[in-house]
């Protein structure tokens, strides 16, 4: 029941990982390994699209922090796509009130590209 699908896309030197489902203690380890495996070392910008995540617990957040440290270890930058309407938005705000990891409304925004049609961008970025 607690399941999460991860799709990873390359987008102009950036890696965009789109997650759907739940990210919890029950699958955090596996997903963490998957992400570590699929995010190439040295990727400058890593975007985790969490807009499709319906449930995120502290273990999931730990995972995010770990990924952030990982990306930061090679000087990259982790960006989270968490629109304010996302179920997990408040949770992330609670644990990261200072915006340690920047949040973005859309993958396009996270990539620093001009804000376009959100739906279109998403479609374009999803595998």
């Amino acid at each position: 029941m607690s399941e999460c699908t991860v799709s990873v896309a390359e987008h102009g030197g950036a890696t965009v990982a789109t997650m759907k489902g739940e990210l919890t203690l029950l699958n955090a380890l596996g997903i963490g390994k998957e992400l570590e495996a699929r995010v190439e070392h040295g990727t400058e910008t890593v975007v985790l699209d969490l807009s499709g995540v319906t449930f995120l617990d502290s273990a999931g957040i730990q995972l995010l922090f770990r990924i952030n440290r990982l990306v930061g270890s090679w000087g990259g930058r982790l960006r989270l796509v968490v629109p304010s309407s996302a179920p997990v938005h408040r949770i992330i705000r609670i644990v990261d009130p200072g915006g340690y990891i920047p949040l973005h409304a859309t993958p396009a925004e996270a990539l620093g590209a001009p804000t376009g049609d959100a739906a279109g961008s998403e479609t374009g970025l999803t595998e």
């Binding site: 607690s2 203690l25 449930f55 617990d57 273990a59 179920p87 609670i94 644990v95 200072g98």
Partner: protein, 1296 residues
């Protein structure tokens, strides 16, 4: 002018010219026609009358047409022709032919002769007529005719020529020489030359010459002559006309004189000069002497000139007609305005004159002078011509004089106007030059160089008031002699008595007409000036900015005193100089300001980086450099007090010292409000507070201080104080402006530094929070006290600490031990390894007061905690001692040294205190854990019951608290037994005694109760049977409260064996104790019969069973405690778990002396059915728990988003519980949920110890999530596992 010619005209008739020349010619003339006529007759007579007539006619025609000689030639040719063709045949007839020819010649000659003579007679008559007319004409025109026979040297004169030459009529000179004698001697040479030229026949002779008549008169004669010559060109005679042209000559002369006089008069406007010239001209040309005088009114002479030049004035006066007739004549001439001619020889003889003309010189109002002409006896007598000429000359002289006078007046006026204009122009030059001046010295220089000439001053002196106002200091001078200049360099205003000083003191000008006046008014200096040849003096003030700022002195060498115009100009000059001075000074101030500001801007870049302290230091150093003060302080303004933020030069001791009340500097508070600098020029004996900075040079004191508010946003929250050891002058406005600018820049820099520091602090703060989380995790992981202490101090520096130590209280000894220390010198740790609780040390005080102790400065440290003095320890680091507080207990204290100087802000404090609480909790837990490990490991399970059972519509909450007495396990117990048919047995008991024996007895009773209860015995029966068991086991006393509740009906039957009554807490309203059912304790007597009481529990109401530990304490009577319990029970939060916590905490205040057991049972209302789950302690249970919670919340209408958050909180709590549970044998977790009073309370309980599994770090994050997502959170570690209760309020209808 008639011209003398020959008698007849040449063409009057042919041949006439010859007639008068020779008889031969005449004969020929007569012979020609006669011969022709004779030939013609002869021809005619010979029978050829036609041919003869034709011949005569032809000769006549030819003669008439072509002249005599051609006619004659024609006749001759005719005769020859006739001879050849006709005569030859007739030679025989010679006689006839000669008679005929002779007769013809005779007749022809006679006829022609008669005709000629008649003609001659007429011509002579006409000639005589013409001569008479000519004579008449000559007579009329006073023209004489003369003829000079050059050969005979004889004169032929017309009769009128004599009077022309002044001779008798008809008289004439006999010879040319005689004529020449008549000629004026001056003209004789010219006369002779004319004669020569006439005789030479060179030119048409025309000559004018003077003759002197026998009467002595000089006449001008004009003569023209023509010369007749013989065939050899020798002059035979000279014919001439002569005329007296004296009058014309005089008119001409007069005209020339007049025009020369006019030219002379017009040549110059110098009247006297031109009149003298006129007199000379007249004397040369018209009269022998001439005098011209101009008169003032009443004929007094104003000017006199006379000519010839040799005539002295006296002689001229003598000559002048001043007496007698002459005077009368002069008077008459003047009064009549008409000239007079006086020719009375007798009267004039005395004067040596023959005639006098007196002509008044007319002027616009009447005669203005007299022109007098005198001729000498030798000269020409003056006549009417001369009089009218003199009139004309006088008139012209009058015009000239009038012109000259007008001109002179105009010139004078123009000169005056020019002079005025020149002065104005010169003043304007001053005015124009003053704005060029850029310094006061240049102003003064401009004044003296341009001002002195403008006022015809020979010397000028400009002085300004000295800065202290005590003296006049010379700024510039011109023309003053050396000795005066030396004296006037500086004049003291108080002693000296000089015009300049008077002006400077009074502001009024001083005007002195002469050196004498100066000497009389200012005897001290007057004499000297007189000797120096200085004359009138003007002294005017230079007003500037409302005061006399200087003085201008102007001397004239001599002459006129300063006129009113001069004075007003001079005052204006002073005023102009004043305004120029003001401008120059303002510019100088402005320049100073600009330079100052540039200097400020130069140093500002040095303030751009660094901490606020570094920036403050840079500012103070800049201030010292820029303003040259001895000491510079930067104070922070804290309300009504000042606190040193920086001092430059910095003292070794950075102790800021105590705050200084604002009131200690009178006026400073006002200056701060107004943002105005305040200056204390001279504080006698030195500054009271600035002495703090006077270590610069020990023993010196600060005398002058400038307080400059430093304000970033209109509020002076700092003040910069520049202090000097000596007394300094008031700062100029420009300097003040610079200083204020400096302060503004300083404020900006400080704000900037503060902002940067705040940002850095915020970053640091975030870092600290992360550190705190990390420490939390470390703490959770730590098991022992030592581990906890190490965890707290693991990374001292990352918290911004310099050193830290953990000191824990050892209760029995009333002392603290340092269990861990980082960063302190060994000496310090050794010295304070054990600290008595009453020691004067920060940690001891923190423990005593339960408050954080902050010691910001070394001075404060030395004052409050003298024991710390001299102990080898880091100096200058603020000390913070944080008590480790858990509820009512203090586990110890953190002893910290902060890395940065300065005060500890609230954020730091909050962080430290939360760290303290975390540490306390961890230490408490560690201690509990240690105790648990030591003694209760085996007893726990037997003492404490299983979880409250799963019930549909009821909830149970239980609490067990070991007493503080120590490790001994008490005899309190509780149990809950679920029976079939929705019945439940609740029991609470207390076995008297402690320790393992009591515990085992309790276990027996509990087991027995369980067994009997399952058999279906009621409360009273149960009590009876337990009583018997107690007897059998030789039990100590034990009390028991047992209740049987029917969940469906709420009916409750109960029995109390010596136990406090149960409390009923209704859903609403006051709580009450159940009544009845009371008996003796167990084990007292086998005879005891046990009553049974009943009560009905309404849905929502709660039955609370408890042991006496809850209500027994040292300070309260039992009844009082019971009443308190009853009263506080309804105050509890809605959820049952929270009620249990509330009761325990309120009654015991965290310090149970004895064991306490509490059992709360609540019948739920159907609509708020509770949640109660027991799940395997495995991760798979999480999904089940979440599903159940979601469903339960959904039933109660909870919003999905809220439900999501509650779920997550519950999830995290479950994760925690599962992790705990995996370490224990009881691998279950219990989850209960209750909806009450508009809030959801979920309780998750495990049966493990509070111990963080090592597998996942940062378990603290989950707890933090739980806390954030809950309105209330209670985490209760206990012997029976950990219980987490979280409450979340529900909005809207659910709450109602």
């Amino acid at each position: 002018v008639p011209t003398v010619t020959t008698v007849s005209r040449r063409r009057s008739y042919p041949g006439s010219g010859r007639l008068r020349r020779s008889a031969a010619g005449l004969a020929l003339v007569l012979a020609g026609p006669a011969v022709a006529t004779g030939i013609g007759l002869a021809i005619g007579l010979e029978g050829r009358p036609g041919a003869g007539a034709l011949f005569v006619l032809a000769v006549a025609l030819v003669t008439y047409a072509a002249g005599f000689w051609p006619g004659l030639a024609a006749g001759g040719l005719s005769v020859v022709a006739f001879e050849y063709f006709f005569v030859a045949p007739f030679h025989e007839f010679q006689f006839d032919r000669s008679v005929a020819v002779s007769l013809g010649v005779l007749v022809g000659t006679t006829v022609v002769l008669v005709a000629l003579m008649e003609r001659e007679r007429r011509a002579l008559r006409a000639l005589r007529e013409a001569e008479r007319r000519l004579e008449l004409t000559l007579e009329e025109t006073s023209t004489g005719f003369w003829e000079w026979d050059a050969v005979e040297d004889r004169f032929l004169w017309s009769p009128n020529l004599g009077p022309i030459f002044g001779l008798e009529r008809g008289a004439r000179p006999d010879s040319f020489a005689e004529l020449a004698r008549l000629v004026h001697p001056d003209d004789s040479v010219r006369f002779a030359e004319a004669q020569r030229r006439i005789l030479a026949g060179e030119a048409p002779a025309r000559v004018e010459f003077r003759v002197v008549t026998p009467a002595g008169e000089t006449r001008w004669i004009r003569s023209e002559a023509t010369t007749e010559r013989d065939d050899d060109g020798r002059p035979i005679r000279i014919l001439g006309l002569a005329r007296d042209v004296s009058l014309a000559r005089r008119r001409e002369e007069a005209n020339r004189l007049l025009s020369e006089a006019s030219e002379l008069l017009g040549r110059s406007l110098e009247v006297e000069e031109t009149l003298a010239g006129l007199a000379a001209l007249v004397a040369q040309r018209l009269a022998d002497r001439c005098a011209i005088e101009l008169l003032e009114s009443e004929h007094r002479p104003a000017f006199f000139t006379a000519a010839p030049a040799g005539v002295s004035k006296v002689a001229a006066e003598h000559l002048a007609p001043r007496a007698g007739r002459v005077a009368a004549t002069r008077l008459a001439a003047l009064e009549a305005g008409k000239s007079q001619l006086l020719t009375d020889a007798v009267t004039l003889r005395g004067l040596g004159a023959r005639s006098v003309v007196v002509a008044p010189i007319p002027g616009p109002p009447g005669p203005i002078g007299v022109l007098t002409l005198v001729d000498a006896e030798s000269g020409r007598r003056l006549d009417e011509h001369d009089r009218s000429l003199a009139d004309e000359l006088a008139r012209r002289a009058g015009v000239a004089v009038a012109n000259a006078q007008l001109h002179a007046a105009e010139r004078a006026a123009r000169a005056a106007a020019q002079a005025a204009a020149d002065r104005t122009a010169r003043l304007q030059r001053v005015t124009a030059a003053l704005p060029e001046a850029t310094t006061p010295e240049e102003v003064a220089e401009t004044l003296v160089t341009l001002g002195a000439p403008a006022f015809e001053g020979c010397a000028m002196w400009v002085a300004y008031r000295s800065e202290d106002g005590a003296a006049l200091v010379r700024a510039a001078q011109v023309g003053l002699p050396q000795e005066v200049d030396a004296d006037s360099a500086s004049i003291p205003l108080v002693q000296a008595h000089t015009p300049a000083v008077d002006v400077a003191r009074s502001g009024d000008p001083v005007w002195l007409a002469s050196a004498e006046e100066l000497a009389s008014l200012y005897p001290e200096i007057g004499g000297a000036y007189r000797e120096l040849g200085l004359g009138p003096l003007a002294a005017v003030p230079i007003p500037a900015a409302g005061e006399t700022t200087g003085v201008i002195l102007v001397w004239r060498a001599r002459g006129e005193a300063f006129s009113d115009v001069d004075r007003s100009f001079l005052l204006a000059l002073g005023a102009q100089a004043g305004s120029a001075l003001e401008r120059v000074r303002a510019q100088a101030a402005d320049a100073e300001l600009r330079q100052g500001i540039e200097r400020v801007l130069d140093v500002v870049p040095g303030w751009q980086t660094g901490s606020p302290e570094e920036v403050a230091g840079a500012i103070c150093r800049s201030a010292l450099e820029t303003f040259g003060a001895s000491v510079c302080h930067l104070f922070d303004v804290h309300g009504d007090a000042l606190r040193v933020a920086w001092r430059e030069p910095a003292a070794e001791d950075r102790d800021p010292g105590p705050e200084i009340p604002l009131g200690d500097f009178p006026g400073l508070a006002d200056a701060l409000v107004r943002l105005r600098p305040m200056f204390l020029a001279d504080v006698r004996g030195g500054h009271r507070h600035a002495v703090r900075g006077s270590e610069v040079a020990p023993g010196t004191q600060l005398r002058s201080s400038l307080f400059v508010p430093v304000s970033a946003a209109g509020i002076s929250d700092r003040v910069l104080i520049l202090s000097w050891q000596e007394v300094v002058e008031d700062p100029s406005p420009a300097r003040l402006a610079v200083i204020r600018r400096f302060a503004d820049q300083a404020a900006l820099a400080l704000e900037q530094a503060k902002r940067v520091a705040a940002e850095a602090e915020a970053a640091r703060s975030a870092e600290r929070v992360r550190r705190l989380q990390s420490v939390t995790a470390e703490l959770a992981r730590a098991v022992s006290v030592q581990e906890i202490a190490q965890a707290i101090l693991v990374d001292v520096a990352s918290f911004g600490w310099h050193a830290g130590a953990v000191a824990l209280v050892r209760e029995p000894e009333q002392a603290m031990d340092i269990v861990e220390a980082v960063g302190f010198p060994r000496e310090y740790v050794d010295r304070f390894r054990r600290i008595p609780l009453d020691a004067r040390l920060p940690v001891a005080e923190a423990v005593r007061t339960r408050e954080t102790v902050i010691v910001a400065t070394p001075a404060e440290r030395d004052e409050r905690f003298p024991e710390l003095r001299g102990v080898g320890q880091p100096s200058g680091h603020p000390i913070v001692a944080v008590p480790l507080v858990l509820g009512a207990r203090v586990a110890g204290a953190l002893d910290l040294r902060l890395a940065l100087p300065g005060s500890v802000d609230d954020d730091d404090l909050a962080l430290l205190e939360s760290l303290g609480r975390l540490a306390a909790q961890a230490i408490e837990r560690a201690r509990l854990y240690e105790r648990e490990q030591a003694v209760a490991a085996t007893l726990r399970r037997s003492v404490l019951p299983d979880i409250p059972p799963r019930l549909e519509t009821a909830l149970v909450a239980a609490r067990y608290l070991p007493g503080s007495a120590g490790l001994d396990v008490g005899g309190d117990w509780y149990d809950v037994i679920t029976l079939e048919g929705q019945q439940v047995v609740l029991a609470v008991g207390d076995v008297v005694g402690k320790g393992v024996v009591a515990a085992s007895t309790m276990a027996q009773l509990r087991n027995a109760l369980r067994a009997y209860a399952l058999e279906g015995f009621g409360p009273a029966a149960l009590a009876g049977r337990l009583n018997r068991i107690a007897e059998l086991t030789d039990l100590h006393f034990a009390t028991l409260f047992v209740a049987l509740v029917d969940i469906r009906s709420g009916e409750c039957r109960f029995t109390s064996a010596g136990h406090p009554p149960a409390l009923v807490v209704p859903r609403d309203g006051e709580a009450f104790y159940v009544e009845g059912g009371g008996s003796l304790p167990l084990g007292v007597s086998t005879e005891t019969s046990y009553d049974q009481g009943t009560a009905v529990l309404d849905p929502g109401s709660t039955l609370v069973l408890y042991t006496d530990g809850l209500v027994e304490n040292r300070t309260e009577e039992l009844a009082t405690a019971l009443e308190r319990l009853r009263r506080i029970a309804p105050d509890a939060p809605g959820a049952l778990e929270l009620l249990a916590d509330h009761l325990v905490e309120s009654m015991l205040a965290g310090d149970p002396r004895d064991d306490v057991a509490l059992l709360a049972f609540r019948l739920l209302e159907e609509s708020t059915a509770g949640l109660s789950l027991s799940l395997p302690a495995a991760q798979d249970s999480l999904i089940e728990a979440r599903t159940a919670v979601l469903a339960w919340l959904d039933v109660h209408g909870c919003e999905p988003e809220l439900a999501h958050e509650i779920c997550l909180a519950c999830w995290e709590a479950c994760v925690n519980a599962i992790e705990h549970a995996t370490e224990t044998r009881r691998a279950t977790i219990e989850l209960t949920g209750e909806l009450t009073r508009g809030a959801v309370t979920l309780t998750v309980r495990d049966h493990g110890g509070w111990r963080e599994p090592r597998t996942l770090p940062d378990r603290g994050l989950g707890l933090r999530l739980v806390a954030e997502l809950s309105d209330a959170l209670s985490v209760k570690p206990g012997l029976d596992g950990t219980r987490v209760s979280l409450t979340r309020r529900l909005p809207g209808a659910v709450a109602a």
